[in-house]
């Protein structure tokens, strides 16, 4: 029985690696804020190894409600993410060389696992950031938490927040979709061969 990958499977490995490499070039995620006194908007971009944009302005505003300030060095994720994604790309090359369907399934699973863990980690950080407030904060609104949306739109006091993938995030999603459909295609092909 043929356990080798189809041409589509092989090409998808190269394309997926290409997509993931884009994360070193463009930001992964973005959170946009708008309020009446910030008509131009405030924006924060999350990269795999950094957080950029109007971080200082956000830190300045959030001290009223006692939110922690955001500093690049507080995120161990910015060390783990490049290592994990770098390893993923190298493993992809190995799968290409080994040329076995089983390894391809496992590799696809790994990307979905990285995505799931990352989103959980992001949600956990947002929860902590929005709930863990300084008890001596000047402004306290009873029952109010400031957890930003994981994905999508949310109104928090005078601010509107929109959280969504940035260009890099879309490349990641493209890679995940591509590998999932390639894996499905390989599975169908294998089933046909068995018949």
């Amino acid at each position: 029985m043929n356990r080798k990958l189809s041409a589509f499977g092989k090409v998808s490995i190269i394309l997926a690696i290409g997509c993931i490499v884009m994360l070193w070039i463009v930001p992964m995620w973005r959170i946009d804020l708008a309020a009446p006194q910030y008509p131009e908007g405030i924006s924060m971009q999350i990269w795999i190894n950094d957080v950029k944009g109007d971080v200082e302005i956000i830190n300045g505003l959030n001290h009223y409600i006692g939110m922690k300030t955001i500093h690049k060095n507080d995120f161990k994720e910015f060390v783990y993410m490049p290592v994990a994604l770098g390893a993923f790309c190298l493993l992809g090359l190995l799968v290409l060389v080994l040329n076995r369907r089983a390894w391809f399934y496992a590799w696809t699973g790994l990307l979905l696992l990285i995505a799931a863990v990352s989103m959980y980690d992001f949600w956990k950080w947002e929860y902590d950031y929005g709930h863990n407030l300084d008890p001596t904060a000047p402004i306290k609104v009873p029952g109010m938490a400031y957890q930003p949306p994981l994905i999508g739109y949310k109104k928090m006091l005078n601010f509107e927040a929109l959280s969504q993938p940035d260009i890099g995030g879309w490349f990641f999603i493209a890679a995940a979709l591509l590998l999932t459909s390639a894996a499905f295609y390989e599975w169908r092909r294998a089933k046909k061969q068995r018949l």
């Binding site: 200082e56 302005i57 300045g60 001290h63 009223y64 000047p138 402004i139």
Partner: protein, 659 residues
């Protein structure tokens, strides 16, 4: 056929009705409101920089709305933001005769490249203590003020050459050079008094000014001036009055001659003479004050000599063109070919042609000399005269389509005429007694056109009365059609004289939003709350204070004594647009400070009595602005209260005993 007497009466009434004098209402067209309405949230089309007259400042309006956007402090102190009061800005107003807190600001010139406004700098003159200022149009801030030696009244200023090579400063009052004393009578005037034309060189990258050379002219009153452009680039033209050389009752004595002069200066030639070493060094003393962007501090430099050129010796440097009668305005059209002199007592407008002027020099078509300077024959340089244009012509601007617009003080109107055939095309009344007028870019090679703005001398019934002193007035007219159309009145500060306007796109996107605190090199900067401290040096106490929403650090200070010189060095730690902080302390005898984000400013305060002095932020900065406050304890002289300070209880501001 017989008309009934009733019908006749009705017809007569109708005729009377239609003969009614033109009122303001009838002068404003139906769509004027729509053409000047700038909806909330929308921007104006143009920036209009208007001289502040006796306020000494410059005002910035939006056009076509006429909305006041900002008053820029230039030659007068401004307690509102500390200009002229803070330690950093005091040197800006230094002169050879000490600190001068006021001036009379008449004319403005936007920097030009290839004869077009480039949006980099704005130059402003000070009439009374002769000075020229340079305002940076990124930060909208006065960056440099240079004093003029040998000048009495810097009226003929600041006009620019087409690439901002020079800004001009001509004297209105002739005075003896070298600040010498002299008896006051006509004989002494003729002998001792001189007028000077100073050429201030502009560094093309930094904008820095220096008095490159002065041309010493016979005693007379230089009034206004314009640089040549295009074919006439290399020349400067000044109007002049009092060529009668009277020292008293000028109203009569300076109005005797039928013609005064347009003074034409070949500045390219002057440059050559300076290079060739023909200029004489004259000992003098004048101030040059510059604001340093890195340490946010101004310094004064005293300059001790000036290069002078004598046109009586250097024969081909200056020529005089006769011009009727006490000319005021002297304007050059966009092509650079025509020079318009406006004799304020004349009943016509003479227009000179540059080509004919050059030919007259070649042909030696001179009618004589005036104090050793050749006078060209009037007809030899004349292009033609605009006949019966109105009464009291003052200034002329251009639309770039071959039309000129001249203001008439006495007949209170703007008259549009054609440069080519010198025919009057249209006239509109102004309310009332127009002085300067301005077409956006009307002094450049490529006017923006579209509008003409009248800057009027009398307001009378234009606005709600406010006692004996009324608002000053400007009026906006459309010049898009064949007929000028009044669109809008708007009040102005001071008394407006000349103005400049530039499309918003050339300026708005370069606006500085805040100063980078990492680049702040002020010697007393506190680049973070950890760097705040209080130091005593003899009877000086230096407070390194920071401001950030919504606290001052330190906000409790003890150990200061009566008679101490307390210097509050406030650093605004914000790094966002539109977040200045203010600083005021009770009983300060000077002013407050407005500190821009990333900037450091210093307020000097000498307490005269023991007590507790509250201080606070004056510029509403946040929801907790009202909490942004603190106290300074002042003890009697010789008290043993140690110097200490803190904000809250954080370790970075722990109390430290003095010494």
């Amino acid at each position: 056929m017989k008309l009934s007497p009733l019908l006749l009466a009705a017809a007569a009434a109708l005729t009377v009705q239609s003969c009614k004098m033109k009122s303001t209402e009838s002068a404003v067209g139906g769509d004027a409101a729509a053409r000047t309405y700038v909806a909330p949230g929308k921007y104006d089309e143009l920036y209009n920089f208007v001289s502040g007259g006796f306020s000494g400042q410059v005002a910035v309006y939006g056009l076509p709305s006429g909305r006041l956007l900002k008053v820029l402090p230039v030659f007068s102190v401004n307690p509102e933001n500390g200009y002229g009061y803070s330690e950093e800005t005091k040197p800006m107003l230094n002169t050879s005769h000490g600190f001068v807190p006021w001036d009379d600001q008449h004319h403005l010139a936007l920097s030009q490249t290839n004869g077009e406004h480039d949006g980099r700098w704005l130059f402003a003159n000070a009439n009374n203590s002769p000075r020229v200022a340079r305002i940076d149009l990124k930060a909208f801030k006065t960056m440099e003020i240079i004093e003029l030696p040998n000048s009495g009244g810097n009226h003929s200023s600041p006009f620019l050459t087409e690439n901002t090579e020079y800004v001009i400063a001509g004297t209105r009052f002739s005075v003896p050079v070298g600040n010498a004393e002299s008896p006051l009578d006509n004989a002494s005037y003729k002998k001792n008094f001189k007028s000077t034309a100073s050429f201030i060189g502009i560094d093309k990258n930094s904008g820095h000014m220096n008095v490159a050379f002065q041309i010493i002219l016979p005693g007379m009153d230089l009034d206004l001036s314009r640089a040549g452009k295009g074919p006439s680039h290399g020349w400067f033209f000044f109007s002049t009055y009092n060529t009668e050389q009277a020292s008293t009752l000028l109203e009569v004595n300076a109005s005797q001659k039928d013609k005064d002069f347009i003074v034409a200066v070949n500045w390219k030639k002057a440059e050559e003479y300076v290079k060739a070493g023909k200029a004489k060094k004259m000992a003098t003393e004048y101030y040059h004050n510059t604001f340093n962007e890195e340490n946010h501090t101004a310094t004064s430099e005293i300059i001790k000599e000036v290069l002078t050129l004598d046109p009586e010796e250097l024969k081909d440097l200056v020529y005089l063109i006769p011009c009727p009668k006490s000319p005021h305005g002297c304007d050059v059209d966009p092509s650079g070919e025509y020079i318009v002199g406006s004799g304020k007592l004349a009943a016509l407008i003479p227009v000179f042609a540059f080509q004919k002027f050059v030919k007259a020099i070649e042909d030696k078509a001179f009618e004589g000399e005036y104090n050793g300077i050749p006078v060209i024959k009037y007809e030899a340089a004349l292009h033609g005269e605009v006949q019966k244009p109105g009464l009291g012509p003052l200034h002329t601007e251009f639309d770039g389509k071959g039309n000129a617009y001249t203001s008439f003080f006495v007949s209170s109107e703007i008259v549009k005429w054609s440069i080519k055939d010198l025919k009057v095309l249209d006239r509109v009344p102004t309310y009332y007694s127009i002085g300067h007028l301005m077409v956006p870019g009307g002094d450049t090679k490529k006017p923006y056109g579209k509008y003409v703005v009248a800057y009027n001398k009398i307001t009378k019934d234009r606005y709600l009365p406010t006692g004996p002193e009324l608002a000053q007035s400007a009026q906006l007219y459309s010049i898009e059609g064949d007929k000028m159309q009044l669109l809008l009145d708007f009040p102005t500060i001071g008394e407006p004289h000349y103005a400049q306007a530039i499309p918003a796109e050339k300026i708005k996107d370069q606006s500085v939003k805040f100063f980078d605190i990492a680049k702040n090199k002020h010697p007393y900067v506190a680049a973070g709350e950890k760097a705040t401290k209080v130091e005593r040096k003899g009877n000086q106490v230096h407070v390194y204070m920071t401001a950030i929403r919504s606290h001052l650090t330190p906000d409790n200070i003890e150990g200061v004594q009566v008679g101490d010189e307390v210097y509050f060095h406030i650093t605004n730690l914000e790094q966002d647009w539109d977040i200045p902080h203010g600083f005021a302390i009770k009983h300060a005898a000077t002013a407050e400070l407005l500190v821009m984000p990333g900037e450091t400013s210093t307020l000097k305060f000498i307490p005269t009595q023991p007590g507790v002095y509250p201080f606070y932020c004056t510029d509403f900065c946040s929801a907790l602005h009202q909490e942004m406050q603190g106290y300074m304890r002042v003890s009697p002289k010789g008290s043993n209260v140690p110097l200490k300070w803190h904000t809250g209880g954080t370790d970075s501001t722990a109390a430290v005993a003095a010494k």
